[in-house]
Amino acid sequence: MTADDGFDETLFELALRMGDNALILGQRVSAWCGHAPVLEEDIAMANVGLDLIGQTKLWLGLAGEIEGKGRSADDLAFLRADRAFRNCLLVEQPNVDYAHTLMRQYLFDAWHLPMLTALKQSAEPRVAEIAEKSAKEAAYHLERSSDLVIRLGDGSVESHERMQAALNALWPFTGEFVAPDDVDKAAASRGLGPDLSAIAERYNETTAAVLRDATLSAPADAPVRKGGKEGLHSEHLGYLLSEMQWLQRSHPGAQW
């Protein structure tokens, strides 16, 4: 999907999707700073948030470069309207409690790592380079979140119930990550991104193993909830963006 003017829409969309997932999840996670259940979690969550914001800068920076209209990563993060965001619905789901936060993180990480690992082979070197750097961080995130999901799932009665409730609420959003649409297919056909069905296989294997160890069960026949990749979001995103973008938008053109 390269237009006559040289604009590579597929590549642009791919970079936006990766960047927006990192940005929106980073924004959610960073809201825990100072409010986590133990000091070590304040620190660990902030680490995850920092990695995700760092990745956002790279992906959205690349998206701006591909677009070629002079938009910076900040312009894309702070001045885009909600319908132009390309993150999956899962990452914009609210924090609710620490169980939802950890489960959301795990369900994301379990996709993020195999996705980034595959993107290291991208035919586009700039994509491969960002993936190379981000995959290391994602591997650490997945290690941490799966460990916590297992310990809390197989923990006390209450921690088990909370983790199961979070899984029930969030599982329907996981399908979107691995259900290929036209952009994914175009990216795969040009070797820019992976064939998502291979990622789906990895995803199902790892989540099945971790959830089994956590004594949790994914709801059977849950409907897949999707739309974020095409810019059709849940109502939550508007509130997240109004908070995140408010300062930038109330001082047009100001430097910070």
């Binding site: 100072g34 259940p37 979690e41 304040d42 620190i43 948030g49 900040d74 923990g155 100001a254």
Partner: protein
């Protein structure tokens, strides 16, 4: 400072002649600049004063996450968001080092947390002021971390080994905190008229509370003498406050901002600034719990602790299950 008005023994400092042999050996070590380590003998008053001071300091780092954390989700750029997040994360880390240092004196982190949440332990008055605009994030880094550095640099030489070592690690990070704050202010004063006004307004609101961070005037500071003799306090409150004013006023001038004090004047003779009377009534009200945000700060900490109980219990339950399984398998 982060530990303002730490209660000591409340008694006069003993002379070497009045001391027991143990006390004398202890004091001689301190006077010779030899660090006291957890296993060494120490007077009960020394231990208690240190526990109070270190835990107050730790609580300040923890509560101190809140006013700045308030702006992480609203930071205006990705870089600012990351820098602020990293900064607040550092403060959590400082809390951790300090709790560990206090634990070497025989008090657990959970005990200290419970004291804080029960309203029995203090934390710095400064964190009971609200962060109303983005410029407040700049002002906190510049002024509050600046004041913290002023106090903490001498604490690196504190007589108690674990506290001194914690302070050495902390001080390395604090200068980055101050720089990022000053950098925010710099950007604002070079920006639009609204941004510049925001910066001035933040300075107006944070100036006096920052001066209060050093604690009450020396004349009213009843617990300082013993702490100084024990090497857990190196400089007097007024000394540090003066140093802070002298350092900060030129920085404000460089920013093109006005320090909100009509009595501020360079005093050639003393080689420092004279400055106006501080509203100590406000300071004591804030310490008593009547500051603008005391209630919100404590509620936020209590909520984090209470809401997190299931998480901590869950991890504990898992550890027990795992241990039981291991025994069963043997």
């Amino acid at each position: 400072m982060y530990a303002q008005e730490v209660k000591s023994t409340g008694k006069a400092v003993k002379s070497l002649e009045e001391m027991t042999p143990e006390e004398r050996v202890f004091q001689t070590r301190i006077d010779a600049d030899i660090k006291i380590e957890p296993k060494d003998w120490m007077p009960e008053g020394y231990r208690k004063t240190l526990v109070r001071q270190i835990s107050q300091h730790a609580h300040s780092e923890i509560v101190g996450q809140l006013p700045e954390g308030n702006w992480i989700t609203r930071a205006p750029t990705l870089d600012r968001k990351a820098i602020l997040l990293a900064k607040v994360q550092d403060e959590a880390g400082h809390g951790l080092y300090l709790y560990c240092a206090a634990e070497t004196l025989g008090v657990s982190r959970d005990q200290m947390t419970e004291q804080l949440l029960a309203g029995k332990a203090k934390y710095s008055s400064i964190f009971n002021y609200p962060t109303l605009t983005w410029a407040d994030i700049g002002a906190i880094g510049w002024l509050v971390d600046g004041a913290a550095i002023m106090n903490q640099v001498p604490l690196q030489r504190c007589s108690y080994g674990p506290y001194s070592r914690a302070m050495i690690r902390i001080c390395k990070e604090e200068s980055f905190h101050q720089r990022q704050g000053y950098d925010i202010m710099m950007k604002l004063v070079k920006g639009t008229p609204e941004q510049k006004a925001m910066a001035q307004d933040a300075l107006n609101r944070w100036w006096q509370p920052s001066l209060m961070m050093f604690g009450p005037p020396d004349a009213d500071s009843i617990h300082s003498a013993q702490s100084m003799a024990w090497g857990i306090k190196q400089n007097s409150n007024d000394e540090l406050r003066q140093k802070f004013v002298d350092q900060t006023v030129p920085q404000a001038t460089y920013l093109g901002l006005t320090v909100p004090d009509p009595d501020l004047k360079w005093n050639e003779e003393k080689g420092g600034y004279d400055f106006g009377e501080i509203d100590w009534n406000e300071f004591f009200e804030v310490l008593k719990g009547n500051g603008p945000c005391n209630k919100e700060r404590m509620e936020a900490r209590r909520k984090a602790w209470d809401d997190g109980a299931w998480f901590r219990d869950g991890l504990m339950a898992h550890a027990e299950k795992r241990a039981a399984r291991k025994i069963a398998a043997e």
